[in-house]
Point group: C2
Chain length 318, copies 2
């Protein structure tokens, strides 16, 4: 059993480093901090090294005193674990910490995981790495508490889009039931993670909604963000996150395209489809990539020209 080997390795170690992936999200951070909290309950010395500072959204996570943004020097460790990390490149500059250790562990749920460590626990059926960490701490006989439960809740809730994505299973809810029994403040955490939005992002959304164009009998929706709009809203690149979904979620829309200006005549296009259109085919045509329902590419021209090209491509597949 892989789990048994991992538990043996953890029990034999004193000093343990935990590495979430670059641009750590709720699952990467939540599962790493939860494990650090659990390990310290077992008397271990644990540190989470992140690539960047913790994003504002996750600043409330309990146990963030175990987290350090890596600069160029780390302490010495007996054991290094990568969490929620599909491949070595996703460790960024912290690959230094990973490679300085001869014995490494990789715990993840991504189907694309390259099994890059000494021991690899990759459960692709898990909705979140947080689910795997939950099971591991149970198996290690570490009792949950409010802090660990809250971190695992954030991990699971964010990676399932608030229990809405197709990766959400019966087990996801069973685990969550146990986390709530251990003291998670559901409404407070949900508010912090899902509801709170900076004003600049709301403003940008308002401007972007104003220029939504719906065409092809209501099935294709364009939403555009120019540099001038970013400036007006005092917003930046990251505030465009999720904007394409505003267009995709409009009743009747099958394909949504977010057209985002990069330079004078260069635009990045994010495609989303609702049901049957494979948008990766269109993205590939312009040297982009992605999945059936989420893909992207870059294009040159004016917004009007780009819209005409996309309309023509989409018309063939609607």
């Amino acid at each position: 059993m892989i789990e048994k080997k991992i538990i043996q390795a953890i029990e034999g170690a004193e000093r343990i480093a935990l590495l979430p992936h670059v641009f750590a999200d709720g699952d990467a951070l939540g599962s790493s901090i939860a494990l650090a909290l659990a390990l310290s309950k077992k008397g271990k010395y644990a540190r989470v090294y992140t690539e960047e500072e913790i994003p504002y959204t996750y600043d409330f996570l309990p146990g963030k005193e175990y987290v350090e943004a890596f600069i160029d020097q780390a302490e010495e460790f007996d054991l290094v674990l990568a969490l929620d990390t599909g491949d070595l490149a996703r460790l960024g500059k912290r690959i230094k910490i990973f490679e300085s250790n001869s014995f490494t562990i990789n715990i993840d749920h991504h189907t694309t995981n390259t099994e890059f460590a000494s021991i690899n626990l990759v459960k692709t059926s898990a909705a979140a790495t947080g689910e795997i960490i939950y099971q591991l701490t149970k198996r290690m006989g570490i009792s949950l508490d409010e802090r660990i439960a809250t971190c695992l809740y954030v991990a699971i809730a964010t990676d399932t889009g608030g229990f809405r994505y197709s990766n959400t299973t019966s087990l996801t809810h069973q685990i969550t039931a146990d986390l709530i029994n251990n003291g998670v403040d559901v409404s407070r955490i949900s508010q912090l993670v899902f509801e709170t939005v900076p004003y600049k992002k709301v403003r940008l959304m308002g401007l972007a909604i104003d220029n939504i164009e719906i065409t092809e009998g209501g099935k294709l929706a364009f939403i555009t963000v120019t540099n001038e709009m970013l400036k007006r809203a005092n917003a930046s690149e990251e505030d465009c996150d999720g904007l394409v979904n505003v267009a995709r979620n409009i009743e009747g829309v099958e394909v949504a395209a977010l057209i985002r200006q990069r330079s004078e005549d260069e635009f990045k296009i994010n495609f989303r489809s609702q049901n049957y259109v494979d948008v990766s085919v269109i993205a590939h045509r312009y040297s982009g990539g992605g999945h059936k329902k989420a893909a992207g590419c870059s294009m040159r021209g004016s917004v009007a020209q780009i819209k005409e090209i996309i309309k023509k491509d989409i018309r063939e597949v609607l």
Copy 2:
């Protein structure tokens, strides 16, 4: 045991009418249809009578062939159940069906329930009436199937705001785990219930965001909807639903007020607070009402005048 009495009454009846509350929401409809499906599995004749046609959002619910919008005449029944209905007024004109029966059952989770029936099963700890119906069908030995599970999932998911509100318990997730085991298509249902928005509503949101005003050091946010905006967006009253939350969810905002025009100089104000302000106190001052974190009232004047009055009131409590 109340449950036992209810099961006996159901077993002794042949023809059963189920009544959700007026303006039936996901919980009222989902739990009523789920029970109708379950009862018909037991060989009963069950009908759900609604006050209005099923809202567009819930049109996909399986088992809607059991549902009929009541006009003025219903069939004869041996037993009548009110579901998710706090008091008799919430039955609207269908009180006729309820009162024509000498033996009635009331199944609900609202703390304000007036226990108006022969047997009253009011579980205020339940996040949704759907939870109570789940337990009742289990107790009756009726096996779940995809249709029943889907209706109960919609009931529970909507009344907990997608498992985000403070009413969400460990039991809520345990029940949901079992519903998913019985075939709920989580991503499809979540998309239909939570994500899909009519274009006119999105347009109205864009226009409303453009006029958001943030004041009092970022703690008070105004969002205004005039009749002219409704007209421009081709939207109506119902499209204002949830708009106040766009303002309340802005980072740092403690109180949000949606100012909605009713006539030339008459406005309806919806207040929401985030943490500590009791907005019902302010609403009461203008003959309105509500709860600590959600309240409303009507005011006369211009938008600018109304904002000045509210600012003054809010300043005292911020």
